[in-house]
Symmetry: C2
Subunit: 207 residues, 2 copies
């Protein structure tokens, strides 16, 4: 099985702009990516980073400047074995999460993301292609039903929470102790309570 981790090495997670400047955003995105690569590796798989630009990291890097769906589909078209695709902004993912993702024997396994995205996929059917544009989980379910013999979804909070909005940062501090959580703490973020929900904020003097 091949395991792809798509990563935007140029301008990742732009909606985090409201909380992080661009240099910080790149640093944080890399820390999240390291967490995902580590979880994949600890689960016994060999991650390949599918990056929009060259990127120095502890994994095989495939550089493909095309939009996400085209880059992933190019790998799927060439693959002669199952392909797992796990997004790079999922720092809550653990080795156990990866094991849960790949263990169902279905042709297609879908890990839904909050807001209708598809945060993880296992593709064991040669004709299945991705389309990550808005609301992809519905498209992927429809396509899986149309092309594949069997498909299933994985009910995982750790797969569902992609960190692409400032309101998501609290989840990293709450549920992870990896690189991304360390990065946030070192950047001065801490948990505070607002409207009964915890949010990650930093005091103005460290911002």
């Amino acid at each position: 099985m091949r395991t792809l981790v798509p990563f935007d090495a140029r301008d990742p997670n732009t909606r985090l702009d409201a909380a992080l400047d661009k240099t910080e955003r790149l640093g944080f995105a890399r820390a999240m990516c390291r967490d995902v690569l580590a979880a994949v590796r600890e689960a016994g798989h060999d991650p390949e980073l599918l990056a929009t630009a060259s990127f120095d990291c502890d994994a095989t890097v495939i550089v493909d400047e095309r939009p996400l769906s085209r880059a992933v589909n190019a790998v799927l078209a060439d693959a002669d074995e199952p392909v797992t695709v796990v997004m790079a902004d999922l720092p809550l993912v653990t080795p156990t999460t990866i094991e849960r993702l790949v263990s169902p024997e279905a042709d297609i396994v879908i890990g839904p993301g909050l807001g209708g995205g598809t945060n993880a996929l296992v593709v064991r059917h040669p004709e299945f292609r991705v389309d990550y544009h808005g609301g992809s989980v519905r498209k992927h379910r429809d396509r899986a039903e149309a092309t594949a013999g069997t498909y299933t979804t994985v009910d995982s909070f750790r797969l569902a929470v992609d960190i692409d909005d400032p309101s998501d940062l609290a989840e990293v501090l709450l549920h992870s102790d990896g690189s991304a959580a360390s990065w946030l703490r070192e950047a001065g973020f801490e948990l505070t309570t607002r409207d009964g929900r915890l949010t990650a904020t930093r005091p103005p003097d460290t911002g």
Copy 2:
């Protein structure tokens, strides 16, 4: 095992005010509650509604006007068997989710909610008490470590997504076909794409 479903029968899910008027909000909250009760029952358990006011529904109803934590703790103090607590605003929950929640043999099982809440708990330790005030998942983890022999968490998207903000409504239309999803469709809500995420909105003429 007893299974409590706490429900605010007077003024539930106030943050949904931005999308629903009060009559609608009550109707939608009841629909979500029906989904949770049905999932608990289909999983083989007998749900007890712990409500702030009397409420006509297909379950045993315990009326307790006190704040949530005190009402739940009163049940825990009296119980001579394990107690499961599942919030009423979790319409994504299925019988399988309930089975996953109760199957670990730990003294305390925690189902984290988005934003640091505790959406589900299994309490098999006589001294454990809840505190649902802001950021409860940290408190419950700390208390479980302090009082219980063993504790674990359940990694479930369906347990984590409580529907208490308008931005959560899309998840119901995407991942459920129960009473709450039907309620939203009948009220005119539909999925639209905004900033790459799906949101549930209704055309102005039906609002």
